[in-house]
């Protein structure tokens, strides 16, 4: 039982590490491509193609260059988390009402202030949705980490499958399913919480 708890924590940490790295890389990248729109199409196409590569295959291919262990798993998770994070940050920021941007500029905001005070707060719910998708995907892919010598809840599932031991399989599968579902719900709650009050459904602004 203690083992499972430790594996669960490890599983979450690995997933979070992958998503965290994707945030560090993805958000600046997304902001960058909102300024240089020609880059946007290219970046989206690349991340789109990366997404179609089966996770097992990417994991295996990276293993050959990065070796066995958690570092390979985390890099794989980062790559898969990039698409939802970059895409949502990009569409969140570019989807903002032009009038709002103009108003901000008109008030004398610098580009940095505009980003910090207007663009990021308004786009935050969309960005959070991207993070939620990324996290759930990462938890799923992390179960495959066992193949390349990584940790997490994949180990009992995989080993149980080898020796056809249902209870061992379930001891990994059930917590893996649970943390994915809990993350989905928790992050969805957070997404609602960061939505500015004025933007929630049936927003006022009638004139």
């Amino acid at each position: 039982m203690g083992d499972i708890l430790a594996l669960t924590v490890e599983h979450l940490m690995l997933s979070a590490a992958g998503v965290g790295l994707a945030l560090v890389v993805g958000i600046p990248l997304a902001i960058l491509i909102t300024r240089y729109r020609t880059l946007a199409g290219f970046t989206m196409a690349v991340t789109d193609v990366l997404q179609t590569i089966p996770s097992m295959a990417l994991l295996a291919a990276l293993m050959i260059y990065l070796g066995l262990g958690n570092q390979t798993l985390v890099v794989t998770l980062m790559i898969y988390s990039l698409l939802p994070i970059v895409r949502n940050t990009y569409t969140g920021i570019t989807g903002i009402d032009k009038g709002l941007i103009e108003a901000g500029k008109g008030m004398g905001m610098t580009r940095w202030q505009l980003l910090r005070m207007v663009q990021i707060p308004v786009a935050l719910p969309v960005i959070m949705a991207g993070i939620r998708v990324a996290m759930v995907t990462a938890i799923g892919i992390a179960t495959l980490g066992v193949l390349i010598g990584g940790g997490g809840l994949g180990a009992p599932i995989w080993r149980g499958m080898q020796i056809v031991d249902s209870s061992m399989i379930l001891s990994g599968a059930i917590p893996a399913a649970l943390i994915a579902i809990l993350c989905e719900f928790g992050l969805a709650k957070l997404e609602k919480a960061v939505t500015p009050r004025g933007m929630k459904a049936s927003s006022p602004a009638k004139s």
Binding site: D97, G99, L100, E102, A103, G104, G106, M107, M117, V118, P196, R197, G198, P204, A205, K206, S207
Partner: protein, 375 residues
Amino acid sequence: MVKFKNVVKAYENHVAVKNLNLEIPEGELVVLIGPSGCGKTTTLKMVNRLIEPTSGSIFIRDRNVKDLNPVALRREIGYVIQQIGLFPNMTIEQNIDVVPRLLGWPAEKRKRRVYELLEMVGMDPEIYAHRYPNELSGGQQQRIGVLRALAAEPPLILMDEPFGALDPIARESLQDELKNLHSRLNITTIFVTHDMDEALKLADRVVVMNQGEVVQVATPETLLRNPANDFVASFIGKNRLNGDSLQSVVEIMLPDPVTVHPQMGLAEGLALMKRKKVDTVLVVDEQRRLLGSVAVETLDREHKRARTIGEIMNQDPPLTTIRSQASAKEAFDLIIGEKLKYLPVLDENDVLVGLVTRNSMVSALASAVWGDVGE
């Protein structure tokens, strides 16, 4: 042709139609008119059973509609709506012949009918039959909407504010066309509108409704000469101001001023003011009760310190307001005497009903002196 007998439509917390009795003879074009929420559209939709009455009956040629299959009933009644609702996946020809197709007309007859109808309104079938709705202008689309309703030669047509969303020129020409078609085909027509000019122009008889009740049924001529009461008179009189009618402050105000809620963000507020080209907005709560105002200068000054409109409203001097029962004269005196830029108009519950500005005053005066010079 159509007879309403003690028809009532009640919803949970209001009555849309109260005990309606009305008879519409064969071939007549009847216009139902009244302010929004008066029950005119509900009345119309009860005829083809899109809405079922709570009690009472409606007869079409002495058949109670309740006894008819709604689908079959609707196929023998033409129906035109304000949003036009042409099927975007069908060509003009397919749109027009929907009901004939539902009724199983042979293809040859359907095609003849479509061509005949298009020619009737001066649209060349060779050009238009195979186009799609999104390739037509709004006026053309509604012309097709009307033809579609006529296609199966129904004895009755229902039209729900059909020209309300069109530009004035298209509206005018479609009204002429409808008048024309009606005098040629003599199809009984029930037409709903809130535009008195339209009603007077089209109707054989006008039915004025208010708060679910029929106030007056009369020919346009009688309606103009002998309005049944003040409500009808004021309804006819709207936009027909004459010198001595500038009585109430309501007649010189803008009915729909730019308002915001206190929780709106500053940047959003500023964007709204830019878009609406105003330099002050009124702040109201959910019930539209007036809370205060914010000027654009205040917004500019405070945007570093505050986040929402609520935090910065009322920094400007307190608002002078006026009740909606007040006379136009009082509003004039206040604005001129106190050198106000604007004057919010509130009803007895402090709900904002409008705004008097120097501009709105001047244009009300102008139209009173020289007639309707446009809004």
